[in-house]
């Protein structure tokens, strides 16, 4: 299926969880925050929440800033 990940189309296995997505892009779950369709997820829900076709997913982390 195709989801919108950080503003771009991204191919992911159907039914993938948020945790699975983070793993597939090589990101430690403890260092990211995720928003699905405008709703911010609690970190403990990464394992539970599955993604669907066309979901808008934002994955953010901390970078240097002032």
């Amino acid at each position: 299926m195709t989801i919108q990940l950080n503003g771009k189309g991204y191919e992911a296995p159907t039914g993938i969880t948020v945790l699975g997505l983070l793993e597939s892009i090589g990101l430690a779950p403890g260092r990211a925050a995720v928003e699905v369709n405008g709703r911010v997820l609690r970190r403990e829900d990464f394992r539970r929440v599955s993604l669907a076709e066309n979901d808008r997913v934002e994955v953010v982390h901390f970078v240097g800033g002032g």
Partner: protein, 259 residues
């Protein structure tokens, strides 16, 4: 006045200097500079993960979060919605309620949009955030932010990254006289060490800076300078400076000179 600790929303941090993590030559210099600064709070930005750069080094690899607490910001947000959304993501990413709230109103100056800032402050305070809003030197706005539940107010000394130092001492003095129940932390515009001591001498509770350290020729040395400047300014504030006079006053006794 108590010298060393900065207390925000009941938590005590063992330094009055807050430093940023942006614009350093590299992460290693950043790490050393933060250590030299003695800062106990460091700001970080929230950005989309760049999917094209896998496995690169991460900022957090260079921050010892046992020593420094993270203060995520909402830099780059131009309205209430963006700022609130970014704050919520920051909370999940950092598992902390602290947020340096920025709602920017102008691209060239990065001056705040105070109307949006107030709204976002109200929203985030309700959601349990400890909100540290970046604002300009307007006492009317500072008072409203305080009344809206901000845990500190953070007026600028000068535009972010400008290095101009305190541009309007009268306005800062007015804010310091008015806002007495929460910390006043001067955020942005500090260019060199004396810029930091000047605001501390006036009675500011803390200083937040990034460019002044990160873009100095020698960031680690400048970080040490800033640490001492903040301590020095605080001590001078507590020590009570001499009054200014137009004419001289001899330091050596007048009696007993040879004539």
């Amino acid at each position: 006045m108590q010298n060393e600790h900065l207390t925000i929303a009941g938590r005590s941090y063992p330094s009055r200097l807050i430093v940023g993590t942006g614009k350093y030559p590299n992460f290693d210099v950043m790490r050393q500079a933060i250590e030299a600064s003695g800062a106990a709070l460091v700001t970080v930005a929230v950005r989309r993960v760049d999917l094209t750069k896998r496995g690169g080094e991460s900022l957090l690899d260079y921050l010892d979060t046992h020593k420094v607490a993270l203060l995520p910001n909402t830099a780059g947000c131009y309205n209430e919605e963006e700022a609130v959304r970014t704050a919520r993501l920051a909370r999940e990413a950092g598992l902390s309620d602290l947020i340096k709230l920025e709602v920017i109103g102008d691209e060239k100056t990065l001056f705040p949009d105070n109307e949006g800032l107030l709204k976002a402050t109200r929203t985030l305070v309700k959601e349990g955030f400890i909100v540290l809003p970046y604002t300009n030197d307007d006492v009317v706005v500072s008072r409203r932010l305080r009344d809206a539940g901000a845990a500190a107010v953070m007026p600028l000394a000068a535009p972010i990254g400008s290095g101009l130092g305190l541009q309007n001492p009268a306005n800062l003095r007015i804010i310091l006289e008015e806002i007495r129940d929460i910390p006043v932390i001067v955020d942005a515009g500090v260019g060199t060490a004396s810029d930091a001591s000047i605001v501390m001498e006036m009675g500011a509770d803390g200083v937040l800076m990034n460019t002044g350290i990160a873009r100095a020729r020698d960031p680690v040395r400048m970080a040490r300078a800033m640490r001492l400047a903040v301590e020095s300014g605080r001590l001078a504030c507590e020590a009570g400076r001499v009054p200014r006079k137009l004419y001289a006053s001899a330091s050596s006794p007048i009696e007993g000179t040879l004539r």
